[in-house]
């Protein structure tokens, strides 16, 4: 195994030749690899990834200029359904829902983006998590937006009227 071989030069011919000194390095090497594994793994695990999000100053929509063309996404408490509508909110309007599975949501986003671009506008997305929405679902939605390179989005609070409409449409 791992040995150091050191042979002394045979200068003195009267004495018997010295035997090569051999040190067994195996335990040291074992330890070295143990440490190596430990540090490699801890280094890998200690990286926290983050997502930078800026929140709007006011919770209401007054600052959203082009609400008319905006796409509103309402993640609900089921953890997979996302209700959405384009443009202005109307009481008792129909909300369509898509599942969070990337393809369905992506289709809606891609279509809305195309429509907005055809009009020469930039699509603005408003995320209004419902009362029971899970944090993970909201992150999924932001992720989908980033995939579509939709960089103008805002997370705001859902209003009671919207909650009522959401409940009527089968969300929670």
């Amino acid at each position: 195994m791992a040995d150091i071989q050191s042979s002394a030069p045979e200068t003195n011919s009267r004495r018997p030749a010295r035997r090569a000194v051999r040190i067994d390095m195996t335990p040291m090497v074992d330890l070295a690899f143990l440490l190596l594994t430990f540090f490699v793994l801890t280094a890998e695990l200690s990286k926290d990834k983050t997502m930078e999000v800026t929140f709007p100053k006011k919770a209401d929509n007054t600052m959203l200029v082009n609400e008319g063309g905006a796409l509103t996404l309402i993640p609900d408490g089921s953890g997979k359904n996302i209700f959405w509508y384009r443009g202005k909110f109307e009481v008792n309007m129909h909300l369509s829902s898509v599942t969070v599975s990337k393809d369905q949501l992506n289709t809606v986003l891609a279509e809305s983006k195309k429509e907005a671009e055809a009009k020469g506008e930039k699509l603005f997305v408003i995320i209004k998590p419902s009362e029971k929405a899970k944090y993970g679902t909201v992150i999924d939605v932001i992720d989908a937006l980033r995939l579509q390179e939709l960089n103008s989005y805002a997370i705001t609070t859902i209003s009671p009227i919207e909650t009522a409409t959401l409940l009527k449409n089968g969300g929670n």
Binding site: A2, D3, A32, F39, K49, T50, F55, P129, Y135, R146
Partner: protein
């Protein structure tokens, strides 16, 4: 049948280069490693495609599935000064010098200010017990019990002073404090929203939401 003759030369091979390399790597990883802070609660962050790494000098608010809030600020000096300000604000809670010194080296904590001295004194086993029983840092805005806002306020003020001092007097790079939120994917968004509202009241609008790299968690 004739016996197969096995060559009798010893199968020793020179492992020196490999060992050299192993130690080189050990040294490298040891020096670059920054110890991961022990977390008071286990939080399963949602996965995302974001690959941005969390910068240094952060204020971290951790929210677990039950909505309990834990708080952490980087930097020993900042922590000490922040605690001093808290002690001025709540003079009824007394700290010894030893407790202040220990607080400087601590990480996330999630107890009301009144219980903090006891939490600092606790050993690892006791702390774990407290962590499982605690209700987290109070965020109730009713009857002025919203301690988290005070922590945030004092923490950012001290971090700002510290950063300015580093830049002006020590020629360090400007590292403004970042505000990170680490929340369990199964926690209700409402809970996160409540925390964000507290930050917003102090004119903080930009956050680093901590996520797992997509695919890494599976």
């Amino acid at each position: 049948m004739p016996k197969i003759k096995v060559a009798k030369s010893s199968p020793s091979l020179d492992m020196t280069p490999m060992v050299d390399l192993a130690f080189l790597l050990v040294t490298f990883f040891m020096l670059t490693a920054t110890m991961r802070a022990p977390e008071p609660v286990l939080v399963d962050t949602p996965s995302s495609i974001s690959e941005t790494e969390l910068p240094d000098n952060t204020m971290l608010v951790t929210i677990d599935t039950a909505g309990r809030v834990f708080f952490n600020v980087d930097g020993k000096d900042v922590r000490e000064k922040m605690l001093m300000r808290m002690m001025n604000k709540f003079p009824e809670v007394k700290f010894t010098q030893k407790q202040i010194d220990r607080f400087k080296l601590m990480k996330s904590f999630g107890v009301p200010f009144e219980q903090l001295p006891a939490y600092i004194d606790a050993d690892e086993v006791e702390r774990k017990k407290i962590d499982t029983q605690t209700k987290g840092i109070p965020i109730d805005t009713v009857d002025n019990k919203d301690q988290l806002s005070f922590w945030i306020n004092f923490g950012r003020v001290e971090a700002f002073i510290w950063n300015k001092d580093q830049v002006d007097n020590k020629g360090a790079k400007d590292k403004p404090m970042r505000f990170a939120i680490k929340c369990d994917g199964k926690a209700q968004y409402r809970k996160v929203d409540a925390i964000i509202e507290l930050f917003k009241k102090q004119d903080i609008f930009r956050f680093n939401l901590i996520t797992d790299l997509e695919g890494a968690a599976q």
